[in-house]
């Protein structure tokens, strides 16, 4: 167990170093921050002072080492656009993105898994067919279009829900939450549905396919022959055995949620990291892009690690096989 975790962490280190190098290369070779920050009129002395202040007069490897060391301490440089530390900007916007992604993930799992189980057990029922058509739409409609359609229906036509922003937020130290105010919760509904819909349909289709597969297997037939109740068979035996691939996909999709929150946040003007990234790309604000890339890499590596650990918890076979079979899943 311990050796397994250790090898996974060791595998993650090169990934993080490579991503760090890419983002540093972006930082070092792309654009000229000095001219951007100085604007039209400046003296040579001002320029030299700024170059020195930004540390751009030092050798490449010194800069890279300093960059990585600073990044480890949450210091990602200064945004060209806002002239403020990138770390602060991201810290301000992190709660909004995390609350949105988390709500969407919970929504997708809580709705997607039962829908998948239902369509798997009763594959020919009318409701199942409706679910399947609905899921095809969820996969084919782009996220931003779903958001626009929801805004059109619930904000413009019906006027029930707010169409942009987080509503009222409550601040605790460095954290701001929209969970505690009525307007904050109402503002969360449309973005969370928009962001979670794709994942929800994906989870539903996956659970359905796995259920169909498992329900055909010999041990389910044996369980039926033993006279177990439908309920015990469907949930105790079948659903449990579909969980390994489902957990993998859910884990990978949570990374996708963080990335796709870029689109959702733009549609709903949600003040999170994704909106910050889009605004930064529009004006080629490299430090923000580099910091975002590194942060996302850390998030993905952590998620992959957690997914691997969950395999252990769910599938006892892996615990025995690990010793003999090398080379991952």
């Amino acid at each position: 167990m311990f050796a397994f975790i250790l090898s996974r962490i060791l595998q993650a280190v090169p990934v993080l170093l490579v991503v760090g190098f890419i983002s540093y290369a972006m930082f070092a070779f792309v654009g000229d921050p000095v001219t951007i920050m100085l604007g039209q009129d400046y003296t040579e002395a001002q320029r030299v002072a700024l170059v020195h202040q930004l540390g751009l007069d030092q050798p490449f490897f010194v800069q890279y080492a300093k960059y990585m060391w600073a990044a480890l301490h949450g210091n990602f440089g200064i945004s060209y656009r806002m002239a403020r530390p990138v770390g602060d900007l991201i810290a301000e916007r992190l709660p909004a993105t995390l609350e949105l992604s988390l709500t969407s993930a919970v929504l997708a799992v809580l709705v997607g898994v039962p829908m998948g189980v239902y369509t798997g057990i009763r594959r020919n029922a009318v409701v199942s067919r409706i679910f399947m058509i609905f899921s095809l739409l969820g996969v084919s409609l782009p996220t931003f279009l779903i958001g626009i359609l929801l805004i059109l229906l619930f904000s413009v036509v019906l006027g029930w829900l707010p169409s942009f922003g987080r509503g009222d937020v409550v601040h605790f130290a460095h954290w701001s939450t929209g969970f505690l105010t009525p307007l904050g919760l109402k503002s969360l509904i449309l973005p969370a549905i928009t962001l979670g819909l794709f994942q929800m349909t994906l989870i539903m289709r996956l659970v359905r396919a796995e259920m169909l597969e498992v329900l055909r297997s010999d041990y389910i037939k044996f369980a039926r022959a033993r006279g177990l109740s439908q309920r015990a068979i469907n949930f105790g035996h079948a659903l449990k055995n579909t969980l390994v691939p489902v957990i993998t996909i859910i884990g990978l999709q949570i990374g996708g949620l963080v990335a796709f929150s870029i689109v959702t946040e733009t549609v709903f003007q949600w003040p999170g990291m994704g909106l910050l990234l889009v605004q930064s790309i529009g004006v080629a604000d490299i430090p923000v892009m580099a910091a975002y890339l590194q942060l996302i890499a850390v998030v993905f590596v952590c998620i992959n690690l957690i997914v691997d650990l969950l395999y252990y918890a769910v599938d006892p076979r892996l615990r025995m096989d690990r010793g003999r079979a090398t080379g991952g899943h």
Binding site: V30, P142, F144, V156, V263, T266, A284, L293
Partner: protein, 301 residues
């Protein structure tokens, strides 16, 4: 030859599947409307002389104030929405196709080399694809586009934007092709015809390109179809985010972004019609890809 093709299993299962026939017709209609836009479109949305602000924001024909001159209404500058959609579809399809071709070339090359060479080359290349597959493609395309924006001079970048998008989307989508090709190449490498080609002294590139390649193309083309829909969505998403094509050269995504500003003042048609067009086109391509996958895979029949 043609008669034999028309008599094949493939054509038979195509005719028997209404979904495949309908989605093919829809895709064909989209392609014809897009490619033929300069001749078929009722107006030219890029001809500034024909635009009149008097025509701006007219509703579609089936609403009270609509006119037959603008079947789907007009946008804020008096551009005909239907014509803009036809021209926009042309750009969206073109970028999608070029991006997939680019991704195919890169992916097939990497996959062939990794699968045929094996060893350290294989391990290195597959490690790169693994790392890239960890990140969602839209994020990679966004970052590539952002870097291009910073590297290229501004007006040059604006002119090159289509190619920047093709590069960004293609680079974000090649690993899947590489993996599939590598898998099939590993199988083909052990076959006797490869052995024979080696014995008569052909060079490795020659064996890869003219002997192994034709035998590994099938599965890749299915994935390419499914990825075409996704690439079109990638482009639409980037354009919607404002980092894709500029309003002077609108793709479907740009049209949706422009129209989004008018949603609250009730002019829903400026954004909904391009959105429906995009959704219908991508849905048909996806359905066609699904059918192709099932039809070419005898195990699923």
């Amino acid at each position: 030859m043609l008669a034999r093709f028309l008599d094949s299993d493939f054509v038979y299962s195509f005719r028997r599947s209404p979904v495949a026939v309908v989605s093919t017709l829809v895709v064909l209609a989209c392609v014809v409307g897009a490619v033929g836009a300069p001749w078929l479109a009722p107006h030219n949305p890029f001809d500034l002389a024909s635009l009149s602000l008097m025509d701006s924001l007219q509703p579609p024909v089936f609403m009270a104030d609509g006119t037959a001159a603008h079947l789907l209404g007009t946008d804020d500058q008096g551009r005909d929405v239907l014509s803009a959609i036809m021209y926009g579809t042309q750009i969206s399809l073109m970028i999608g196709f070029l991006a997939i071709i680019f991704a195919l070339v890169v992916g097939i090359t990497v996959g062939l080399v990794a699968g045929y060479m094996g060893g350290a080359v294989d391990a290195l290349l597959m490690r790169v694809t693994d790392v890239q597959l960890t990140f969602p493609s839209i994020l990679i395309a966004l970052l590539v586009d952002g870097v291009a924006r910073a590297v290229l001079p501004r007006d040059f970048h604006d002119r090159m934007q289509i190619y920047v998008l093709v590069f960004a989307i293609g680079i974000a989508r090649w690993p899947q092709f590489a993996r599939t090709v590598r898998g099939s190449t590993l199988v083909e490498r052990g076959r006797e015809y490869v052995m024979a080609a080696k014995v008569i002294g052909l060079s490795s590139p020659r064996i890869m390109a003219s002997h192994i390649l034709p035998n590994v193309l099938g599965p890749v083309l299915v994935i390419a179809t499914l990825n075409l829909g996704l690439a079109i969505l990638d482009e639409a998403t980037l354009s919607f985010l404002g980092v894709g094509l500029p309003p002077t050269q609108p793709s479907l995504g740009t049209l949706i972004r422009i129209g989004n500003d008018f949603l609250f003042s009730g002019e829903w048609w400026v954004t909904i019609f391009p959105g429906v067009m995009l959704a219908v086109m991508v849905l048909s391509i996806n359905l066609l890809g699904d059918w192709l996958r099932d039809a070419l895979n005898p195990r699923l029949r």
